[in-house]
């Protein structure tokens, strides 16, 4: 087997982290925030009718695989992506790619990754990691949320790649074949910002983008009336976890996106992007305030209508500010 000298670097979010590390291996320095912004990683969705593990689904990110796909497309990079019908074929293809010297990114379920602390191991099937070698039957893993590189047995990795549920990874794997000669990072940034604003503002349904935040705020008001105290508390807990657990960089990706805008402002020499970055940082602080208040209500087992109304108001405030934020960022003049 070829020796792949892969440099593991810890990141906040798995997919932007994997993308940054894979590009870095090929010699293209794209920081995690840049990968996250170019890939339009920030998004929102609240689906009251889709119960995952008994609680309504809430997401603060775009769908799995989108960041890698968008970043490599925007930078004109040739990639190989593949899904599989069986674990055997998926593992053979992985070995073959490693043999050719490619570090390989893939989707996995955190439930089947024994190197993660048990506290984090729920059935979450959209986790990205890189496999960069094989030693004594164990695969070498660069998992961006971990501080250091680690290893995993072939059996566990196969299970993680073929976990069932929503979504199903189906052994999905990807690697970079060849970089383009002169990737146009500036245009990629511009397109990334436009796409993000579009996804946040345009979906004409109440569950996605900025609209989704209002939907969640509306639902929150109903919790004390429609749910048992235990359910209400679990629903609330799930929102906090989606917003704050590993992979979000805190405040549901707001800080990560603000870091992107700051770096974009430096690269493009545009002061107004720095201003947008500062603004989003402040909005991120409000999201944290929401999570903090929600946790307090949860812990005190408060089930009165007033607490949930106040919580809903905090959320509406975040939604209002972001609506205005994305409307203005969408109007940026890029010809300058």
């Amino acid at each position: 087997m070829n020796n792949i000298h892969f440099t593991h670097k810890q990141h906040a979010h798995c997919e932007s982290g994997v993308t940054s590390n894979l590009l870095g291996y090929k010699g293209l320095k794209i920081s995690e925030p840049l990968a996250f912004g170019i890939g339009s990683g920030i998004f929102f969705g609240h689906l009251p009718f889709l119960k995952i593990g008994g609680t309504p689904g809430t997401t603060f990110r775009t769908w799995p695989g989108a960041i890698f796909k968008r970043v490599t497309a925007a930078l004109n990079i040739r990639v190989h992506t593949e899904k599989f019908k069986s674990p055997e074929k998926a593992m053979q293809a992985l070995d073959a790619a490693l043999e050719k010297g490619y570090p390989v990114g893939m989707l996995s379920s955190v439930y089947y990754l024994p190197y993660l602390p048990e506290a984090f191991r729920f059935h979450f099937n959209a986790h990205n990691l890189v496999i960069y070698g094989k030693e004594n039957g164990h695969y070498l893993v660069s998992d961006p949320v971990m501080e250091h590189a680690t290893t995993i047995s072939a059996e566990d990795l196969a299970k993680a790649r073929f976990a069932k549920g929503t979504p199903e990874p189906n052994g999905f794997m990807y690697y970079i074949e060849e970089l383009s000669k002169e990737p146009d990072i500036k245009t990629a940034i511009e397109k990334g910002i436009k796409k993000t604003a579009w996804y946040m503002l345009s979906p004409p349904v109440p569950w996605f983008g900025n609209n989704g935040i209002y939907t969640l705020a509306k639902k929150l008001r109903e919790y004390p009336k429609k749910l048992t105290p235990r359910q209400a508390s679990l629903y609330l807990g799930n929102i906090i976890r989606m917003q704050e657990e590993i992979g979000t960089g805190g405040a549901g990706f707001r800080y990560l996106y603000a870091a992107f805008l700051q770096e974009a402002g430096e690269l493009l020499k545009r002061e107004e992007l720095q201003e947008f970055s500062r603004e989003l940082t402040a909005i991120g602080d409000q999201w944290r305030n929401f999570a903090y208040s929600a946790a307090r209500i949860m812990k005190a087992r408060q089930t009165d209508v007033i607490s949930y109304d106040q919580l809903s108001d905090l959320l509406i405030n975040c939604a209002d500010k972001e609506k205005d934020f994305f409307k203005r960022i969408r109007k940026l003049n890029w010809l300058a």
Binding site: Q10, P33, K164, L234, N238, I240, I246, A258, E263, Y292
Partner: protein
Amino acid sequence: MDVNDVPQDPKDFKEGDKLHKLVYATDKDGKYVGVNSAGWEAENVAMKQAWDAVESDLLETKLKVISGELSPIAFFMQNCLMDIALVAKYVGKWQWQVRRHMKPEVFARLDNAVLNVYAQTFNISKEELINFGKQDQVST
């Protein structure tokens, strides 16, 4: 969030303190940098609650298996943090079939092939699956 405000509240359950995740925060010049965080109280409370709910459900189900209301499949399903829909996908059955297999009288008649598929899904041996709750039953 200022780098000095990055929370360092330890996650003192289920090895949670083994991982110090990276978060982005602003330094004194307002520049974003990555900082490791041990965890945040709000997040820890939410995560702990999710685990406590799992454990209290598990205890309840265990008692139901011992008293003969449910088959061991109900217990191991929850022990693996699964629901009926997910178990059905793993064992290749319909949800109504899995629901039936949770009845002790139906479970007792399942053939070895089906029991093996369940045992594999729950990452235990067939014997562990069949015998769960029986010892307790004798002693109580």
